[in-house]
């Protein structure tokens, strides 16, 4: 009702209403989100998210790269959990080509995915706390996240965008010291988690600021395609890891934490619980890590082992063929999804049989989360608005693509 009313009014003449353009350069819009607000006092009357300030055309650009090269591009969409993007993309190609992934590679991938979830949630926790001026927690979370990035660097040589996934496996075998590093992290992480829990969960102001703010119902979630912690905070236990297991998630014991109220505090509770579940999954996966090949031995798909290049002419031919020509999946289309830190992350790939994707579409969870803002923010104050955006945890690289 308000929308119509506001459109009919003349903003210039109506001194009650104020138009405020929040962002794209604003400290708490998680990047470059811009929200056109119409305010009455401090109460939001109308909110319209404006996206596209981080548009990089990655989806289009993927059409000009070979299947192999695309891995480095999709990393940069959801820049806080690169492994999830890589897994989702690689899984589409693997499904299309029906490539078997060795078990060791699957376990390695799973460990990295869960580490990425923890690192992404840590950043969410840090920035949400920073939104409420708790800069210390922000720094503690970053310090903790740094350890995960160090593990990524140990494995792949890059901190944020590992580029470690290859069709049929992973790029390199695990380095010496990987298991110790992960175990060391898992040992120290609960203490840090406990500190954060003590600082926030019972904190009077924190609870008051989060409870009842940005309430999303399950019905809203369905209408706006919200997934991940946002959906689970409304009571639905939809989790891609349970519903459509990939990477043998069905073999691991873990719970899908849910809450019922659907407000910012519920989302906070769900994510805090997911930290623990992820840590337990990593613990289990480390136990399952057995020696074996880390990439498929199908030479039509994966590069030959480096040591063969000096000895075998065949290996060199395969190397040249794969690098210069790439691979040709069958004509067809395929959709796979993974549970990223933000929700269901899906990749839809159309292949025309050439060595480049005909079309690659990303079903980004953040995009859905930004959509609901125009409904959710109405009636909130600016302070609540900041909390709501933070609790939805949108990543603008994921939104704009």
């Amino acid at each position: 009702m308000l929308k119509q009313e506001i459109e009919n009014r003349d903003l210039e003449k109506d001194s009650d209403l104020m138009e405020l353009s929040l962002g794209p350069q604003h400290p708490s819009t998680h990047g470059v989100l811009r929200i056109k607000l119409i305010l009455k006092g401090e109460i939001v009357q109308q909110a319209e998210p404006v996206i596209g300030y981080l548009h990089t055309g990655v989806e289009k650009e993927c059409e000009t790269r070979t299947y192999h090269q695309v891995v480095t591009l999709v990393d940069r969409l959801d820049y806080l959990s690169g492994p999830a993007e890589e897994q989702a993309y690689i899984a589409t190609v693997e499904k299309l080509m029906e490539v078997e992934v060795p078990e060791r590679a699957q376990t390695i991938r799973l460990i990295l995915l869960e580490l990425a979830r923890i690192s992404s949630h840590l950043l969410w926790l840090g920035t949400s706390a920073l939104e409420l001026n708790m800069s210390s927690i922000y720094m503690y979370c970053f310090a903790e996240r740094e350890k995960i990035l160090d593990i990524f660097e140990l494995i792949s040589g890059a901190r944020m965008f590992p580029g470690y996934w290859r069709i049929g496996g992973v790029a390199l075998d695990l380095p010496v010291g990987f298991e110790e590093a992960v175990r060391d992290f898992l040992k120290k992480f609960p203490r840090m988690w406990k500190d954060m829990d003590n600082l926030l969960t019972n904190n009077y102001v924190w609870c008051e600021r989060l409870k009842g703010v940005g309430v999303i119902t399950e019905e809203d979630c369905r209408q706006y395609m919200l997934t991940g912690p946002t959906l689970r905070a409304c009571g639905d236990s939809y989790d891609v890891r349970k519903v459509y297991p990939y990477l043998n998630y069905q073999d691991y014991q873990f719970d899908v934490p849910t809450a019922t109220l659907g407000d910012s505090y519920a989302r906070y509770e769900v994510r805090m619980e997911e930290f623990k579940q992820s840590a337990s999954i990593i613990e289990q996966a480390l136990g399952k890590l057995k020696p074996g090949p880390f990439i498929t031995d199908n030479r039509k798909v994966a590069f030959p082992p480096r040591k063969e290049l000096r000895r075998s002419m065949e290996a060199v031919i395969h190397q040249f063929k794969l690098v210069s020509e790439g691979l040709h999946p069958a004509v067809g289309d395929v959709y796979t999804c993974v549970e990223s830190a933000r929700g269901e992350l899906g990749y839809f790939l159309v292949s025309d049989g050439s060595n480049k994707p005909y079309r690659l579409h990303v079903r980004a969870p953040s995009f859905a989360h930004v959509q609901i803002l125009s409904k959710l923010l109405v009636g909130q104050t600016i302070s609540d608005m900041v909390v709501t955006i933070a609790s939805l945890d949108p990543i603008l690289g994921d939104v704009d693509r």
């Binding site: 210390s136 102001v205 104050t381």
Partner: protein, 325 residues
């Protein structure tokens, strides 16, 4: 006559210089403390342990380009930071830093003005601090600024009431409005022991009065960019900044004078004790800033009017009862 004027001028100049220096080094202190609490190193580039950082900051602020946003109201835009700095310095003239002493045959008092109703003057001046927030927000023609200044006005006026009421209970106990008199009244026992509730209320209100976290709504960085001083840069921003830190010193000094026995302490070290108590307070301000989240505007108002004010009134009545009986 002349010697009196010279004395006042000398004391005033010393006070201004010392306070400016204190404010400058408080910024460094805050940055280092916050950094330590946040697993960081903090400033360490300029000079040993980053000790020249405040000077570097000051030089940078002074030499920044002077600008004024389009559509700003020139007079008030330039006046607001001046008001902020002036008020912050002025109220300090009433605070007694130590007992009087003999110097070249003259009795020197360690305060600039001895006003009979000193508390009223201080309260009046802290109330005036609303004006720089209002004028700055209104004149800079920015929507974030105006929101910040509206928040700031309401907050500062609301919290003035419990602040005044908590001081009033001390006044009842001391029986004087004169600040040296109040310090004198605490010779035996500090008022914090007899008026703990008033002290807590005062500390909470002083956070709101100085716009510090967790009550920094007028300049809430993550909501209003920088609130009422969004459009200020260079030395004008520097003045707001300095005023904020001097205000912290001011409310700490008032708390010390009213509740913690002023310059009194074991041994004959009046000014040292005053400075030490001040340091503890300043540390507390920074510690709280590193920990507590910011409250929402309506919560702030509810807290101020529905919780703090009734408690302060009840406390005042109880105090009055005990003073009378």
């Amino acid at each position: 006559m002349w010697i009196d004027i010279i004395e006042v001028l000398a004391k005033g100049l010393t006070l201004v210089l010392v306070l400016s220096g204190c404010a400058a080094y408080m910024t460094l202190c805050e940055r280092v403390l916050m950094a330590r609490m946040q697993l960081r190193l903090g400033p360490n580039r300029t000079g040993p342990f980053g000790l020249f950082q405040p000077m570097a900051d000051g030089i940078k602020l002074i030499f920044k380009e002077r600008f004024q946003p389009a559509g700003a109201d020139t007079l008030t835009y330039w006046l607001a930071p001046a008001i902020a700095a002036f008020i912050a310095f002025f109220a300090f003239g009433l605070i007694p830093f130590g007992p009087s002493f003999e110097f070249m045959g003259r009795e020197i008092n360690l305060y600039i003005a001895d006003v009979n109703s000193g508390i009223l003057v201080i309260l009046a001046f802290t109330s005036l601090a609303v004006y720089d927030v209002v004028l700055a927000g209104w004149s800079s023609n920015n929507r974030y600024s105006i929101l910040g200044s509206i928040r700031g006005t309401a907050q500062m006026i609301s919290y003035e009431i419990p602040l005044g009421l908590s001081i009033l209970s001390v006044v009842l106990a001391a029986g004087t409005l004169n600040l040296p008199g109040i310090v004198e009244a605490q010779a035996e026992r500090w008022f914090i022991w007899t008026h703990p509730i008033a002290f807590i209320i005062f500390v909470i209100c002083s956070f709101a009065e100085t716009n510090r976290a967790p009550f920094d709504l007028p300049e809430a960085e993550h909501e209003l960019v920088a609130g009422y001083h969004t459009e200020y840069g260079g030395l004008k921003f520097g003045m707001f900044f300095m005023a904020e830190y001097i205000n912290i010193l001011l409310v700490s000094a008032i708390a010390i004078t009213f509740f913690l026995g002023g310059w009194r302490g074991p041994g004959d070290l009046p000014v040292v004790w005053f400075a030490a108590k001040l340091a503890v307070f300043v540390f507390f301000f920074m510690w709280v800033r590193a920990t507590l989240p910011r409250v929402r505007y309506d919560q702030l108002m509810t807290f101020g009017w529905k919780i703090l004010t009734p408690i302060a009134i009840a406390n005042l009545i109880v105090t009055a009862y005990f003073v009378l009986v």
